[in-house]
Assembly symmetry: C2
């Protein structure tokens, strides 16, 4: 903390953060939730913030997003896309330009991670999951960033099929519909939703069924021939 810390006063540093969405069952409804990390140093020590970190000199922006994501959650997102570059002068005491990504996490992956942590007894103290629409006051401008990410998610769900990225490999149409309803915050007609989903060409029906309640529901699988991830303007696969 001698020379390099002093130098932070007159250089612009580049950080990468990610808004990671997943779905969570709370009672009979499902809701969007996201993981936050508690800051352990100034500025904003003790407040919740988006997971992220500094960009390394020899890694691309995409790679930095994946790396910081893995370091905090230990998981690969099913979808990752650049959101926006935030660079207001006063958003941090030192000058920081944040390249923010947003990501989707599969429900089963989240479960697997939680179970693994519980078994290993290393449940991270500084990570917690929050309801995306009911957040506390976050560090920096992160509340605005989450709001913008939510807006992008709601928009994108309207003209693409990314919502699959929040579910396990196999899912019923009702489960998929509930995800859409949680994101769009309105009820969808099951009959019409079914026709639209089946007609999109992105769903492959299986011969397996989800049983347990009333009439068994057919399980579907996402057609991976159709691209899920956004490979960015350069079409590069990270």
């Amino acid at each position: 903390m001698t020379r390099s810390a002093d130098r932070n006063h007159d250089i612009t540093r580049v950080a990468v953060s990610t808004v990671i969405f997943t779905v969570r069952r709370t009672g009979d409804a499902i809701s969007l939730s996201l993981p936050l990390v508690r800051r352990t140093r100034d500025p904003h020590e003790g407040q919740w913030a988006l997971p992220g970190g500094w960009l390394d000199i020899s890694e691309s922006l995409d790679a930095a997003a994946s790396r910081t994501l893995a370091e905090t959650t230990g998981l690969q997102p099913s979808y990752l896309e650049q959101l926006y570059a935030f660079g207001a002068v006063d958003r941090s005491p030192s000058r920081v330009v944040s390249i923010v990504y947003w990501a989707l996490l599969r429900q089963d992956d989240v479960d697997a991670q939680v179970a693994a942590h519980a078994a290993a007894g290393d449940a991270p103290e500084n990570v917690a999951w929050f309801d995306a629409t009911d957040l506390p006051g976050l560090a920096f401008d992160h509340n605005d960033i989450v709001d913008y990410a939510l807006w992008r998610l709601r928009n994108k769900v309207g003209y693409s099929r990314i919502a699959h990225g929040l579910l396990a490999d196999e899912f019923t149409l009702a489960e998929l519909r509930e995800v859409y309803e949680a994101i769009l915050r309105r009820r969808l007609d099951p009959a019409n939703f079914r026709r639209q989903a089946e007609g999109s060409g992105t769903l492959i029906p299986t011969e397996r069924f989800r049983t347990g309640s009333h009439r068994p529901a057919r399980l579907y699988r996402y057609n991976r021939d159709v691209e899920l991830a956004d490979h960015g303007p350069l079409g590069v696969r990270a």
Copy 2:
């Protein structure tokens, strides 16, 4: 160029560039064109590149885009929106993260600038206008960036009314339609275009008419109550 130049080997610098679109009449058709600057130093000396520059320590990203735009073209764009942050490790010899914006310029503003430069005799040698769909090989990854900006423009034109940003204050529906046709690269039905434009609520008919050829066409004005510029995720007015 002593110590700071040496230091560029191990720091990441932030640059800002802008893809600036305008429309140009070539014969009886109109086409999208954009200004490029010839590089006067390595890397890529002599090649054409997007206007831009380094981010100052005490200016926001938006301000840097506006400033570098003014320094090269001397104009205020009618629309300015962040496009994407490019950060591949090998896109430049030293490590550079470029925050790229895209912008629209009014046709009459371009004319005014050209006339002013001609009168003052200071027509910039290093700036030239190119057809957006027929560019030479540009410096860095700027060809990819322009392609992406074109894609965004075409997309955005489909669900918003930003095309006005390319025309003068008053315009006929035929002129507006020609702009759409140039961007979307297909003919539009004049009758249906008229209904859609009038029904959008963003056009104010005037009592003035464009005369000269056949039946005079009513001039319209853009309704500035409807926001043209994208104020970004934070809703901030630059």
